[in-house]
């Protein structure tokens, strides 16, 4: 009843090509964004910001980048962590080596560097496909892990190989309170999500999807696979690199290559597949699921134990956490192999008829 597009007529092409053609959708998204900007800062506490919301936003951005490559262009990657690392370290170097480098410029330049590296490691995709490619992208992961540990220049000759950054400033505004960090990340996410949405609706995105669905056929109708694949790698790495820079600068403040290890790559791929391949919205749900679930289990299980009157040891909790996390992943893959975003779509479908299903 509430969610019905009856009577919403489009009279111009421009109106028909809006991002959200259904009014309810538009208002819903605007409401969510407004809530994120105004509501959340009022109700969330420091723990929520620092431990949940900021990591969630940054990883959602990274997952969005991975989704562009995996979900829209069909190139599976297990090297996303490496591109986060490239973004973080490049941004770090821009920030400390150039005097007066604005923070936002450093972050974006970090993303651009990551895009460049992404193109280089994307070259094998022209020859190799599918799971072979997935494993080949691990080469990027391990190479970058090594490079940032071994090449001292990248870490400004820090003896321990760990770098840190502080005094984040944008136009004289010092970002140090959790809520400021949150808002700073949120601005990035919203803008990048909009960018991603528009990219996927434009020529570039359509080319990616053509390549994904059948690359030989796409080639026949005149899409250059090299251009399409490499542009997907570049754009994806750009997103992931910006996320990496934010992860280092805003979330951790001080980091080492282990912060962007192969586990991070797996985690990002999880977000995309659980959330829904080829869905912007899915990247967000996926990120929420993967970030919040372990933390939630970690706190919920002892709480549950204390209700029942059993003290569960930390080891048992963390093992149970692994088991439940694994089981839920398998469960969701079985229930909805197309990701949580698909469930959302089904829900909308039902909502359209509700409360009169016939």
């Amino acid at each position: 009843m509430l969610y019905r597009e009856n009577g919403q007529f489009k009279t111009t092409y421009a109106a028909d090509q809006q991002i959200f053609t259904i009014t309810q959708d538009k208002w819903f998204v605007i409401a969510v964004i407004a809530f994120a900007f105004i509501g959340v800062p009022m109700i969330a506490d420091e723990y929520m910001f620092r431990a949940i919301l900021i990591p969630f936003l940054i990883l959602a951005l990274a997952a969005l980048g991975v989704n562009l490559l995996v979900g829209y262009c069909g190139q599976i990657t297990l090297g996303a962590g490496a591109f986060m690392a490239v973004g973080a370290y490049a941004a770090y170097n821009f920030q400390i080596r150039i005097d007066g480098m604005p923070l936002i410029a450093a972050v974006l330049l970090g993303g651009l560097t990551s895009a460049g590296i992404g193109i280089i490691f994307g070259i094998p995709s022209l020859r190799v496909r599918g799971l072979y490619l997935a494993v080949a992208t691990l080469a990027a992961q391990f190479f970058c892990d090594w490079a940032f540990l071994r090449i001292q220049w990248f870490t400004n000759n820090s003896s321990s190989g760990s770098v840190s950054i502080s005094n984040l400033q944008v136009f004289g505004w010092t970002i140090d309170a959790p809520v400021e960090k949150y808002l700073f990340c949120l601005v990035f996410i919203v803008l990048f999500a909009l960018l991603a949405k528009n990219l996927t609706r434009a020529t570039m995105g359509r080319q990616w999807m053509a390549i994904r669905d059948m690359d030989v056929a796409a080639e026949v109708i005149g899409i250059r696979p090299m251009y399409a694949k490499l542009s997907a790698f570049a754009v994806s790495s750009f997103f992931v690199g910006v996320a990496g820079a934010l992860w280092g600068f805003v979330h951790l403040g001080s980091w080492e290559p282990a912060a962007f290890s192969v586990d991070r790559s797996f985690q990002l791929l999880f977000m995309v597949i659980i959330g829904g391949m080829g869905s912007i919205f899915g990247s967000f749900i996926g990120a929420a699921f993967i970030v919040i679930l372990p933390i939630f289990l970690n706190q919920f299980l002892p709480a549950l134990g204390s209700i029942v009157g059993v003290t569960i040891s930390t080891a048992a909790v963390s093992h149970a956490e692994l088991i439940i996390f694994g089981s839920l992943i398998v469960f969701f893959l079985i229930v909805e192999p197309h990701g949580l975003a698909r469930l959302w779509a089904i829900a909308k479908e039902k909502l359209r008829l509700w409360p009169f299903p016939h």
Partner: protein, 443 residues
């Protein structure tokens, strides 16, 4: 069907979330000194993380059994970090809100991340035997306490020990020493100190990194076999140590020529190598395995005998268990000292505890009274020196247990002080911190 499953999942998680928040708010009570415990009981480093965590928690229980700190009972909560930086940060944020007294992350990576956060939240960070070496300088690193020793101390003593075996520091000239290290900030910390010594005494330093988690070392040991270094320093953690010893055995490198850092000198590192590791030496962060110490007996009587022990009984008194106990003891004593100034029998804040840690003065009599006779030597910290002591012993694995030697070594204060000051000044400059002056220290 699918929707129903989803709705069910959502309902369950909603219930869970509420109950979780309710229970956490119930924990936060006054009149108890809250100690957050960051542990790793799962994952690649669990075998080493477990005994440390058990020792830490058991000591807190022991203090409670003895009546708390001047009557203030201790409460604690564990949080699993799995040795990962981001999970460590999450744990920190979670436990911080419950009035944390002091954090001990037991991971160099997490330490680096928390070093940025601790000054903001005003919670001291104890890193007994690890962490940033330059954080010894309390005028810049106000909230870091690398008590008992840093990696630069370890590196320095290791070289002194090797020199002593060779017959004097001048005998090191022309020798070759290989450093087999965990390829992470932890493993890289000693390199500047070793390079400094190499320049001074004219020995050659060969650097051999081993990638996390350190199960693949064949190539490393082939290189050692080729270059035939006179000594090997082992800077590993977790499975890397036992693998290194096994590879040394497989390539026939004499174990007597190997010296490990104190994190490579515990039972899990050598247990499954057994006789194959016989003769291997490791630094001891003052204490070795101390099954006969009085505090261990107390622990068995007052905690384990009542069935409140965290881990198995056999583990009490083992090297890492002792390290956990010592670490907990240092936090507790920091609070006790703080109470002297801010009121006995009161719950101390992080800031007050910091003062206590900075003015820690554990002389031999106090230590003996607490049952640490023969386990450790006095510790005295100050505003400028957050380390407090740099005593190190050498222990040797005899095939079945660790045997500490009787000589005590001390790091070369003059040499290290300069390095610490240089590094901490550089840090202060980067972070735009004004170092505290001696006057400010008195406040």
């Amino acid at each position: 069907m699918k929707l129903r499953a989803l709705a069910l999942a959502a309902a369950i998680s909603a219930v869970g979330l509420t109950s979780a928040t309710v229970s956490t708010s119930a924990v936060a009570q006054a009149k108890e000194q809250f100690f957050p415990v960051l542990v790793y009981r799962t994952g690649a480093y669990a075998a080493n993380g477990n005994p440390w965590a058990n020792g830490y928690v058991d000591y807190l229980k022991l203090v409670n059994a003895k009546g708390g700190i001047n009557g203030v009972k201790l409460s604690f909560e564990e949080c699993e970090t799995a040795y990962a930086t981001d999970r460590g940060v999450e744990c920190y944020e979670r436990l911080k809100g419950k009035g944390a007294t002091v954090f001990q992350p037991l991971s160099t990576g997490v330490t680096f991340a928390l070093t940025e956060k601790a000054p903001v939240d005003k919670i001291p960070l104890i890193t007994a035997g690890y962490g940033r070496s330059e954080s010894q300088d309390g005028s810049v690193f106000t909230w870091n306490f690398p008590l008992l020793g840093t990696y630069w101390v370890g590196a320095d003593v290791a070289i002194q020990y090797i020199a002593k075996q060779a017959g004097g520091l001048d005998k090191l000239k022309g020798k070759k020493i290989a450093l087999v290290y965990h390829d992470s900030p932890f493993g890289k910390e000693p390199i500047p100190a070793l390079q400094e010594r190499a320049k001074m005494h004219g020995f050659e330093l060969q650097l051999l990194p081993v990638a996390h988690p350190g199960v693949e070392q064949k190539a490393t040991w082939l290189q050692i076999r080729q270059s035939k270094p006179d000594n090997v320093l082992l800077w590993g953690w977790g499975v890397m140590n036992s693998t290194a010893l096994k590879e040394a055995q497989a390539t026939g490198y004499p174990r007597e020529k190997m010296t490990g850092i104190w994190w490579a000198g515990a039972e899990p590192d050598v247990k499954d190598v057994g006789a194959g590791a016989k003769g291997y030496n490791a630094l001891a962060l003052q204490h070795s395995a101390e099954p006969n110490a009085k505090v261990v007996k107390d622990m068995l009587d007052m905690v384990h005998a009542k069935g409140q022990g965290t881990g198995p009984k056999e583990e009490v008194g083992s090297v890492l268990y002792m390290r956990g106990m010592l670490s907990a003891m240092l936090s507790v004593e920091g609070v006790r000292k703080a109470q002297e100034r801010y009121g006995k029998g009161k719950v101390m804040t992080g800031e007050q505890t910091r003062w206590g840690l900075e003015n820690l003065n554990l002389d031999q009599k106090t230590l003996d009274g607490m049952g640490f006779a023969g386990v450790m030597r006095p510790v005295q910290t100050s505003c400028l020196d957050h380390m407090g002591a740099s005593w190190v012993r050498i222990q040797t694995w005899d095939g079945a247990k660790w045997v500490p030697a009787n000589d005590w070594y001390q790091a070369d204060e003059k040499l290290l002080r300069g390095m610490v000051m240089n590094a901490s000044r550089k840090y202060a400059e980067e972070k735009k911190i004004t170092p505290r002056t001696p006057e400010q220290c008195k406040l």
